[in-house]
Symmetry: C2
Subunit: 401 residues, 2 copies
């Protein structure tokens, strides 16, 4: 697998972006069109929120009906959520215009939105831009797209990988945006993955779900699950490989590449979390089951007291064991060891003899590993969170007004 900095745009994908004026505070592109020159197998993961935005409902319908897609229309600035039947009509209208201009079946344009909830969605702002966007579609347009999908993000998040499968070059491109309402089980996380590999639909679906569970569903910024979370993976087969399916050795290689790329982007989301200055990797080891380990990691990653301690470089391991204790799973405190990087701060549920100043210094780094060893079994998980700073409060108490 190649992980160099060069951008490997998979064969057959074209991109365009534009400024539609959907953002309240104007300025900058806010609309993106992503297109595969041939129909692609499509898989998706959506928010688990009971309140779902129109684009989520529409894309879900379309993928359920047929897991084949050829275009994705995305906007920032307006979530098109809690906008009633008019919102649904707007999602339908904008995708219909895109499909028409691209000359593809109506159902093969998927859609995603992010931004403010509850503001009427003006479809005209989008459709006015589409004709010129279709003319501008280009492989390198992905760079502009990675900017157009952002909201409170401060940097775009895009990366790629390539891999040789039985003599064929397979490429994978991913981009995503955060950066508030970020919580496992998806967040106003939008993620778009494109590969030119040929992939059997059932396998693509399972691989996409498992990839999300191992990466985007194991990060947290603020614990709010958005109404708009969407992750799409398109596979257009233009690499000409034998279609990947369960059990093929090359499928494992492909899946490893997918998880590796998604993990890079997931960590980039956390790093760009609202107000974040540090990324903490929470490793829980020695649990009886992966589920138990994940519950503990999630509780620690979500604890405002742990997150503010990280902000303040305070090696307050008591808050860590406390959060582990309320994770809702069995835990014998006497079996718990905790490490900050390699420094042991808690031994058998009590204080280890450690140098407070050295521990505090560790916590001033941009990257921190909090390792919690349970001693009940062999399951382990990793989970990523950020520190909780004044800046988060500032951003979110003045987002709209």
């Amino acid at each position: 697998m190649s992980k160099d900095k060069e951008l490997h745009v998979p064969a057959g994908y074209l991109f365009a972006s534009a400024e539609a004026g959907l953002r309240k505070h104007g300025a900058g592109p806010d609309l993106a069109l992503m297109y595969s020159t041939v129909p692609a197998q499509a898989a998706a993961v959506f928010t688990t929120n009971r309140v779902q935005a129109a684009p989520v409902l529409l894309s879900k319908q379309r993928i359920r009906k047929s897991p084949v897609a050829q275009a994705i229309l995305v906007n920032a600035g307006n979530a098109n959520c809690a906008t009633g039947p008019e919102g649904m009509a707007a999602a339908r209208a904008t995708t219909n215009v895109a499909s028409g201009l691209l000359n593809i079946p109506l159902n093969s344009t998927l859609v995603a939105s992010t931004g403010v909830i509850g503001v009427p969605f003006d479809a005209r702002l989008v459709t006015d831009q589409l004709p010129s966007m279709v003319r501008q579609l280009h492989p390198e347009g992905c760079v502009g797209v990675s900017h157009a999908i952002l909201t409170t993000d401060t940097v775009p998040k895009m990366a790629s990988r390539s891999l040789r499968i039985r003599g064929k070059s397979v490429k994978l491109l991913g981009m995503c945006k955060g950066s508030g309402m970020i919580y496992p089980r998806m967040a106003t996380m939008l993620g778009f993955f494109f590969t030119d590999a040929a992939v059997e639909p059932g396998y693509l679906k399972r691989a996409t779900k498992r990839m999300a569970d191992l990466t985007f569903n194991r990060i947290s910024i603020d614990g709010d699950t958005s109404t708009n979370d969407t992750l799409f993976l398109l596979a257009n087969g233009m690499a000409g490989n034998r279609p990947l399916r369960e059990g093929h050795p090359e499928s494992q290689e492909f899946f490893a590449m997918l998880v590796d790329l998604a993990q890079e982007l997931a960590i980039a989301l956390v790093r760009d979390g609202e107000g974040a200055t540090k990324v903490a990797e929470i490793r829980v080891e020695g649990s009886r089951t992966e589920k138990q380990a994940e519950a503990i990691a999630r509780a620690v990653a979500l604890s405002p007291l742990v997150k503010t301690a990280i902000a303040g470089a305070d090696p307050n391991w008591g808050r860590i064991i406390c959060a582990a204790g309320y994770a809702g799973v069995e835990l014998n405190p006497a079996n718990v060891d905790i490490y900050l990087n390699r420094l042991q701060v808690c031994k058998s549920g009590g204080a280890a003899a450690f140098d407070e100043a050295a521990a505090s210094r560790l916590l001033t780094a941009r990257d921190i590993v909090i390792r919690i060893v349970i001693g009940d079994g062999k399951a382990a998980v990793r989970f990523w969170t950020c520190d909780f700073t004044n800046e988060y409060i500032r951003i979110n108490s003045s987002y709209r007004t």
Copy 2:
């Protein structure tokens, strides 16, 4: 029921406080002794955290063995949690000394601690103070006690009520402390309730649990559930009433007084939440069950995005319906109406026509009601939360260091 400002100290209770030097930043009383001159029926509610402090484990043991107690020993500054067998020995030793000095059975002193987790507990600091504290026991000592139990709280929380039951005057006194790690299902919330009513033990236990569920378990400051949460209710019978039991009409009056007092104190906890400047009452109405209503109220009360919007006086009802949507219970967004005080901001899941400036003005008040009407049934709950400000971050990123 009398709710005047006068302090009604129930008959037979004496209190004392002292400075034992348990706080890192010295200064001020940190130790409290509460005593009933006759044995009292005792009921308790403890943290649900799997990591439980020594005082919690010890008090739980004692109350389970016999629901009769005569003294409560409480300290701030050190949680005596994650302190191993030595911590348990310290809890036992300090209560044994108290029982000895008071000349009561060893098991009839209960204990509670709050403060930093994982710091060895020096029993000597406590036992050195006990002889003089026993000498100073006095009904009006409760005022000093209400100060001694505080940690990051900025004001003491104490209130009382009285009631005539079949010609007998029954008094109820309550005090509690917060103010971080405050979350329903108990928090490093310590609460102490004393009544001179005679109450049948089984009824006392059920009434205490239900009272906590309706009040202290329906507040949230930061969503962290502490290792030390403890609520005690002692009933020493000195009022001479016929013992209250299930089904007595006067039991209902007593229970109403208990809930009324606990609610006043619970709201006082929220108002004094770390960094809080406002209290928001989340009312969920029209749910099918109380459990569903509570899940929705809890999700809204805990959402950092809702809490920062309240801080910023931003009538961003989209964040409210979003949080309701991820509460994990069935919800049809098209049936949801939302009001800020009496101003409707969301109608049938979409934007209501309302004056943004007026809505924002409402949110600058110290007390706000967020009313969420679901339209599925008749169950309703109230839940209390506070805004989320920079001050919370400041307090918690520098608590220890």
